[in-house]
Amino acid sequence: MPVINETLGQYSELFMLLAAGTYTVAFIAFAWDLAKSSKMLRAVDLKAAASSATEKVTVAAGRAGGSLSAPDAGGPAGRAERPTSGLTVEGGTAAGDMKYGAERRAPARVAVALTVLGVLIHGAGVVTRALGAGRVPWGNMYEFLTTGAFVAVAVFLIVLIRRDLRFLGTFVIGLAIIMLVAASAAFWTPVGHLVPALQSYWLIIHVSIAVLSSALFTLTFAMSVLQLLQSHRQKNLSTGGADKLGFMRLVPNALSLENLSYRINAIAFIGWTFTLMFGAIWAEKAWGRFWGWDPKEVWTFVIWVVYAGYLHARATRGWTGTRAAWLSIVGYACVIINFTLVNTVFNGLHSYSGL
């Protein structure tokens, strides 16, 4: 048994608080960026309105040429050929490739810098917690929340290196703040040993993959919500309606959001498949059966099936776009239920999570 170091544990809690504080400032900066940039973009849009009219026509023509598809796609009835959000209007949305543009968004830069600072402090909190307990820092609700929030922010920042997803900042950072506050307020647990049921290397493998996949699902959830909003807005704009969601100018078009979230969901689905399998292997080691429909197992399965449904929807005619986005949202709702209700309310073999 490793020795518990309470001093480190207290440092860890201090770091968590500091991280939450830093995130709060970052959150404000992200929100400011949304407000400011959308105003600026509107001005740019208005100026460029005349010239862009012609450009749009060529873009649309190129697209029509591109949608040529192989005539001999075999497979079951109702199989979709290509994903479509059914919308081609690009006006009033950010670039679909989600690459960094030339324009300088000072508040966004400040926000990202603060987020990096926050995640470093947060990371220090997670590491000191681990050192204090002499084990991986995910053995109870408090630790799931603090480590989970860290992973969510870290994954977000890693994706930011390649893609300009800063428009998701308010959402991701807001969620991280909620998780940290919930951890400290409702689930606070001092550093301690693991109960025997959790003393297994499978805890390291199974839970880390689960947390990582959940972080990815968090991103796609946010993107799917934005996709629905954007698709609604694009439809509205294309029929000449007024733009009521000005901040959505900063967000790419619905189809781009759909495509990127599909790719992230595909990775997360593989991760979740591993989560489920490793969970089963661990259950076999700990309880002698690899599957017993314990509430936690049920919900892990439900999540898996819903996201399998999502992947299917993307391959089913009439189910791409908006409906697939809804499935992605439902899947995430199940992730949340699995994490909150199932850990706290339902009782099963998994209810040792430190409550």
Partner: protein, 569 residues
């Protein structure tokens, strides 16, 4: 099924380019429904069942169907809880029971969903496998007339003095594509406009098929486990030996096809059990268990050499095709009971059933051998007994700091001779006469280790000799398990292949310009989702340029379709 109807109505619009002809056909097939014969009906039903929309619908239904099993207690896991639940909810209980809400995963409706899903899956996978096998053996499709209409398109011009005629260019291109893993067919190599068709990524579909087939494999493995497996439980007090025969088990659940001859008569003796508890190492968690270790001696067969092994939570012991798991533990107070005639009628450990915090446990002692009358005791065992202000004892710690037995005693007929199986943890006192008890004149029995107490009326005596520990062991044999694991990993491998291999087609056409330059044009097409198609086009362009030494000038002809699917990366 309203979903599929809705989607169906929408589909012509969604397709957009649907001709009037197609619409007419669709209208026909919908209208023709009542006129179908029996065979036609079957075919129609089969098409419906194996369609993507139905698969999606069944998948979502499966997800919804699984949920009630987490809301209500399940018989398979907690039969007692279910009985209590129904008793406590007389209004809804029986109704929910009729809906099989307490047996969700073996219920008729849940089974119907997954069986339909798997039939749909087989109906889906089989024709696809056949179609794909054919596709893999056939040549890449013919070169389209206008390559420029493909999503990725580009041209290269080779200077006249380079000495690369159209026919050489096409063969070079074929070589390069082959090296890159494409299957290539060159057409009209010596004609005016030689061209080639190339295709790669057949493993994508293979991956998809492997994935779906493996799911069937997992299901079958689980079924095999249910048919030929078995599981059981046994409580072992320190010093006890378990022999793997039917009578050795306290509780035994055979699979449907179980034969008792398949039990290998190995033996396990519990030498020592140790539980460690948190003692002030982490604040607020005092008394939380941090380690359970059981030392056992095993024998593979009655004649094999004895082997010392350690059994822990998360570290099962494998023996004779089964696995043994440490799933519970508790205390077994040792008592000696003398009967009215002064003879020892019972001596040994009694397993106490843990009821509350800090191993607050219930105890039942049945002494059928006591003469002239049978004796029975029931009460509680506390490892660390402390009295609160109200004078009620409770257990203050999980360790044996001050073990205490508090018992009531009875005499009469225990009813053990009637042949009706009885729960060892419970005693029916209705036909017994009480001797000791808090409300009786004689009072209850309270014993510390080493103490004994005479029963009233010379009925005998009871002595608390000491405390041993016991463990609960689960024994499982599941022959399907390994296969389920293998199919599980196969499924993941298939999934990764299917999601990350891209199925692509490339066509190249070469020709000679009137000014003597050799013109090369190429086009790429992806089947399904492929966000790296543009990247592949760029890579091919670079390969071609290097092969023919064409200076890489910005190519005004290269077309990139404005959609993020192909533009990014």
């Amino acid at each position: 099924m309203s979903e599929s109807v809705k989607a169906k109505k929408k589909s012509p619009a969604a397709e957009g380019a649907n001709t009037a002809d197609g619409k007419l056909q669709q209208a026909k097939s919908e209208a023709a429904l009542p006129a179908l014969g029996f065979k036609g009906m079957l075919r129609w039903a089969w098409t419906q069942l194996t369609s993507m929309r139905t698969a999606l619908f069944l998948l979502l239904l499966l997800a919804v169907g699984a949920v009630p099993g987490s809301l209500f207690p399940q018989r398979a896991a907690n039969p007692v809880t279910v009985t209590d639940w129904i008793k406590n909810n007389p209004a809804t209980g029986p109704f929910l029971d009729a809906l099989q809400m307490f047996d969700v995963y073996s219920s008729a409706w849940f089974s119907a969903i997954y069986i339909l899903l798997f039939i749909s899956l087989i109906g889906c996978v089989t024709p696809r496998a056949i179609a794909h096998y054919k596709a893999m053996k056939s040549q890449p499709p013919r070169t389209p007339k206008r390559l420029s209409r493909l999503p990725e398109y580009g041209t290269l011009a080779l200077p006249a003095d380079a000495g690369i005629p159209a026919s050489k260019a096409i063969n070079d291109a074929a070589g390069l594509l082959k090296k890159r893993g494409y299957r290539v067919e060159v057409r009209d190599a010596d004609g005016d406009l030689p061209s080639l068709g190339a295709e790669r990524g057949f493993l994508k579909e293979v991956g998809n098929l492997v994935f779906h087939t493996s799911l069937i494999g997992v299901l079958v493995s689980v079924a095999i486990g249910g048919l030929f497996g078995y599981s059981g439980q046994r409580i072992l007090v320190e010093g006890d030996t378990f022999v793997n025969t039917l009578v050795g088990y306290d509780q035994f659940t055979p699979g449907t096809n179980f034969q008792s001859s398949s039990l290998q008569p190995y033996s396990v003796q519990l030498d020592k059990f140790e539980a460690k508890f948190d003692r002030g190492e982490s604040p607020g968690k005092a008394g939380q268990p941090i380690d359970y270790t059981a030392e056992v001696t095993t024998k593979e067969t009655p004649d094999s050499p004895a082997k010392k092994e350690v059994l822990k939570v998360n570290e099962p012991v494998s023996l004779g095709g089964t696995s043994l798991y440490l799933t519970g533990n508790g205390y077994a107070p040792m008592v000696t009971v003398r009967d009215g005639e002064g003879n020892v009628a019972f001596q040994g450990p009694v397993t106490a059933k843990v009821q509350g915090d800090n191993y607050y446990s219930s105890v039942v002692i049945k002494v059928p051998d006591a003469k002239p009358e049978q004796l029975g005791f029931q009460g509680f065992f506390l490892p660390t007994s402390i009295k609160n202000e109200a004078g009620i004892s409770y257990s203050a710690a999980p360790e044996l700091f001050k073990p205490e037995l508090t018992l009531d005693s009875y005499y009469g007929d225990l009813g053990l001779d009637k042949g009706v199986p009885q729960n060892v943890f419970e005693m029916d006192v209705r036909d017994l006469t009480q001797l000791n008890g808090r409300k009786l004149e004689a009072g209850g029995i309270t014993l510390l280790v080493g103490q004994s107490q005479e029963l009233p009326d010379g009925k005998g005596s009871i002595t608390f000799d000491g405390v041993k520990k016991y463990i609960g062991v689960d024994i499982h044999h599941n022959p399907g398990q390994l296969y389920a694991l293998i199919f599980g990993f196969l499924a993941v491998a298939g999934l990764v292949m299917s999601l990350y291999i891209n199925r692509r087609r490339v066509w190249v056409r070469t020709g000679t310009h009137t000014d003597g330059r050799t013109m090369v044009e190429y086009g790429l097409l992806a089947r399904g989702e492929d966000h790296r198609l543009a990247g592949e086009a760029a890579a091919l362009r670079e390969l071609f340029a290097r092969e023919w030494n064409v200076p890489e000038t910005p190519d005004t002809d290269t077309k990139t379709v404005s959609s993020s699917t192909s533009k990014d990366q």
